[in-house]
């Protein structure tokens, strides 16, 4: 068994909407292991995003505990949570969420800026990162001058520049066409595998779920099933329909 990065114990989340109480998550206990790729699969309203937000420290559970590398996240204050996100977490969003006033390069350096990394150093690292996502020649462009796919690449570069322990991707391809979707997934998976980083993808798309080592099906706030599988690493593999259920490994497979 690999080292646990997240350990959720009886996590419950209830939203209060005026008089009504809406149970978003019901008694979830699950373990995330280091270096694996997870997919939270579910329809909208199933509670998958709520789970992600709690893992990212954006929301606190109503009950239960989320242990991140031995420390309970729900006990941290705002300042400590900011530090947690700064040091250990990367984020890829559906709507890219780049800062419009900054260039692609500056957007990528932003997490390092918050960590007070020296300017020269962070620009160097950001250039490497941008090259890795295939945008080496777009560093000086503002987000408004980039296509959706390119913006998502910038956001991927930003998520990984910090060398985070875990990267969260919330519907990362929701705004992209099919071709770009798979380009983007190949890219994220490739980087995560290469760096052996934990990746948590939230999606409702079963095709994307095929990239994960473990697919967690969520329905009405509860875990319906957990599927261990041999993950694919790229689109070409998926096309060959080489999917085996029940496999329990995360071998690196060449593209």
């Amino acid at each position: 068994m690999l080292e646990a990065i997240f350990d959720l114990r009886n996590v419950r989340k209830v939203y209060r909407m005026g008089e009504e109480r809406i149970v978003a998550l019901e008694d979830i206990s699950i373990r995330f292991e280091k270096g694996k790729i997870y997919c939270l699969l579910g329809t909208s309203g199933s509670g998958k995003s709520t789970l992600l937000n709690m893992l990212a420290g954006l929301e606190k559970p109503t009950k239960g505990s989320i242990i991140f590398m031995g420390k309970p996240l729900e006990k941290l204050n705002e300042k400590q949570l900011a530090l947690y996100r700064q040091r250990y977490v990367g984020f890829v969003f559906q709507s890219y969420n780049l800062l419009p006033t900054l260039t692609a390069l500056e957007n990528v350096t932003l997490p390092l800026t918050f960590r007070k990394v020296k300017r020269r150093e962070r620009i160097k690292r950001a250039r490497v990162m941008l090259k890795a996502v295939g945008l080496g020649n777009r560093a000086r462009h503002k987000p408004s001058e980039l296509s959706g796919g390119q913006q998502q690449r910038v956001s991927i570069a930003r998520a990984f520049i910090n060398n985070p322990q875990v990267v969260f991707a919330d519907e990362p391809t929701g705004n992209l066409d099919t071709k770009t979707t798979f380009e983007m997934m190949d890219l994220i998976i490739g980087i995560a595998r290469e760096r052996q980083q934990t990746l948590v993808i939230v999606t409702h798309d079963t095709e994307i779920a095929q990239y994960a080592d473990q697919v967690i099906n969520i329905r009405d706030g509860s875990i319906e099933s957990i599927t261990e599988r041999k993950a694919i690493t790229s689109r070409s593999e998926m096309e060959s329909e080489n999917v085996i259920d029940g496999g329990n490994n995360n071998e690196e497979t060449g593209v």
């Binding site: 937000n53 990212a56 954006l58 929301e59 705002e78 300042k79 900011a82 530090l83 996100r85 700064q86 040091r87 977490v89 990367g90 984020f91 969003f93 969420n97 780049l98 800062l99 419009p100 006033t101 900054l102 932003l110 997490p111 800026t113 918050f114 960590r115 007070k116 300017r119 930003r158 910090n162």
Partner: protein
Amino acid sequence: MSTFDVVNMCLRNMFKRKLRTFLTILGVMVGTAAIVLMISLGLATEEHHRRQMEDAEQDMTMIDVWMPWVEGTIWNPDGTREFPEGTPVLNDDMIDAFERIPGVQLASPRVRGSLFFRSGQYHLEAWDVTGVRASVMQYMGLELTEGRTLMPGDEFAVVFGAYAEHGFMESGTDWWDSRQSQWHIPPAELPTLVDVMRAPMRVAFDRRFIQGTTDEPQPLAGGIRPIRSYDVEVVGLLAPRDWSTDRTIFMDVELLLQLNMERIRAENEIQDEWQWLFTPIRSRPPETFENAMVRVTDMRYTARVAKEIEEMGFQANYPGMLLNMLVEGQRQQQQLLAAIGAISLVIAAIGIANTMIMAVYERTREIGIMKVIGAAISDIRRLFLLESAMIGFFGGLFGVGLSLLGSYIMNNFDVPFLQPPPMPEWMGVTEVMEPSLVTPWLCGAALLFAGIIGLVSGYFPARRATKLSALAAIRSE
């Protein structure tokens, strides 16, 4: 985030909304310029006033204190007075109290009397003999050409004003031939008859002392008391200064009071000439003075100390008083103007706050993103506070520039309604006054103030930004 990064990001945010930033800065600029110009008018008046005070020939640190007229005062034949219950009286205790007012260097009663001097064949009818405390005379700021001031322990000592000696005339000659009547000759050019520092001299309170040709005491016939006179030593000669000391003879107040007492007793009580001759000078009774002087350590305190003394129940006059009253009137007008300037600055502050609140709304999503990717709360707060402080600072900077321009225009072109009222000529004011004075201090203070106003106006918007939930912010479109 490092400070450099915060500044960098602020500048970008400001440039992104150029027009809005510009308009907000414009508001601060106009507000700052308004208040700086209004204050500059006041500063010019103050500066002008100060220079006039400095140039004045009189000692601007002296306050002349008088016992006011009190209804129901009873005058005793021995020269003392009785006041109604509760009247503040100008006595030794009160003068000691003056001395304890902060900023006061010394206080002394001032008693004026007339005495008669004789030196050989010359005599002097001195109308202006001033009695002060011997202990304070050395601190009165008087310059001496020779000798020293009065000191405690002196007996029958006097200090002559620079031209007091001109009162000496040859006994038996006409006053119209004397030097005192030579108004057209500058006093410095008049010859000296008596070397006061060295010549032997006697003094008496009795006019008959100078009517004869000798200074021997002469019991007169017909039961009239004899003349009693004393040897007197001139211990110092003052340097020429102004009318307030040049013809004055200074004497210890105690001594002068005793001589006064002697005259009063001579006039009222003592009929027997022989009894008179052998009655020793006794010390004076507890006295209420008519006049006292108070000297302050710096002329900036003069008006304040004078006011305090007036509040204690006395009249207090000082050389710059009329000028001060005039300036006080101007000051009030200018305070009104400064208040108008302050209002425009308050409006500018509201403008900054409005701009920053709009910025928080507009950037809600960005704030959320920054929080999610690891910005600390302090980073967010600094971003907004710095932006508003910068708007304030730049507004202040341009405002100071504008006010320098405005000040130049006021000083070099005739702006009729801004001209201060002309000072009356009899006050000795000849200098043409510039209506506006912008000092480096004022510029610095205006900049600082504008920056602080920016910070304060940005505080609540910044707090709002830090309180935004990252999740809610990131979902907002």
